[in-house]
Amino acid sequence: MNMKRILLTICLFASVAMTWAQKPVSAAEQKEMIRKVEAAAAKTTSLKSSFEQVKQLSIMNSKMVSKGEMSFRAPDKLRWEYLTPYSYIFILNGGKGLLKSSKSKNVVDVKQSAFFQEIAQIMMSSMTGKCLSDDSRFKVTMYKNGDMWQASLTPLNKTMKKMFSAIKLHIDPVKNIVNAVQMVEVNGDTTTITLSNTKTNESIQEKVFAID
């Protein structure tokens, strides 16, 4: 057997294996997985976590890594803060949003912008996994990949469709909480946010979410 044939055989086996690995779970199993995540989300009153964001920059064949901290308090308070390599704070508190960089600060009315509303919604619902049961916004397909669960969300909403072709959630099957979110842009570039040191249901001071 020549080398070409060996390589072809290896590729064939690899692609079959990958197809098998990405096979969606059955409808009944998907329902049960979503139920477990929903149950965990319903019990979550707060989340606190560090995050690492990796942005793939295909035009430069590079990736940009940003790090920060996230705090969430149900139902609608979120603080998303980048610490390196730049400083940036994004806070959602009820109907208001704060965008604060090193040079500027903007307070926006979330309800005034459909785009902002979508972003706010996706950030909060994906962190808790609540978006899995949002049939009006996403078509959800669940996968089991080794010891991880993966949910692939295809946007149904017009605004979201313009930005993302898919949003993938990586879920810890033991704790039933999301530990990574991957956003796949329409042009194929991805942004992956991985959470670490996640603490649930701890008290978070109100000033963390202050929009001043």
Binding site: M60, V65, S104, M163
Partner: protein, 164 residues
């Protein structure tokens, strides 16, 4: 013509604002050529009629100029660009749907070109360019009243990695 210009400006403003998480432009190979294959990043601010937007720009030197991406802090990309220093041209591609309008792209191409060249002498009457001692560059597009501010991100170099 005036009404059209006003409408275009309003559209630019609205679209930028709608894409709240969007970007502006900048560069630090501003003033000096970016060595081939070296990567640099900047924070950017853009203001237009009292609305301020911030973002990040990452650029990589090429043999003829530079290429890179403009995105918001969350990584949502607004556009990619290719700068050809020899031909004095900027090409924008993979433009976010909200910004993918010919009149927006035209303004962006023109302003990006000035920022990339970063030469006060070559700036016309419609623009004002200021370089500061910390390496920041400020550009004002007087015609459309858009102000850009670009500040190099000082990091330990671990924020930009080659893709494996």
């Amino acid at each position: 013509m005036r009404a059209f210009r006003r409408r275009s400006l309003l559209s630019i403003s609205l679209l930028w604002w709608l894409s709240v998480l969007s970007v502006s432009a900048q560069h630090s190979f501003v003033g000096q050529a970016l060595p081939t294959d070296s990567v640099t990043s900047f924070t950017s601010e853009m203001s237009f009629r009292g609305n301020g937007l911030s973002g990040v720009c990452v650029a990589k030197g090429t043999t003829v100029g530079a290429k890179g991406s403009l995105m918001n802090e969350f990584g949502i990309k607004a556009l990619d660009f290719i700068y050809d220093a020899e031909r004095g041209k900027v090409k924008v591609l993979n433009v976010m749907t909200f910004l993918n309008k010919w009149y927006i792209k035209r303004v962006m191409r023109q302003d990006l070109l000035i920022l990339f060249r970063c030469n006060e002498q070559s700036v016309g009457k419609k623009h004002q360019l200021t370089k500061t001692s910390d390496g920041s560059v400020e550009l004002t597009n007087k015609k459309y009243n858009i102000a850009y501010s670009l500040t190099p991100i000082i990091s330990n170099g671990s924020d930009i990695e080659p893709e494996t």
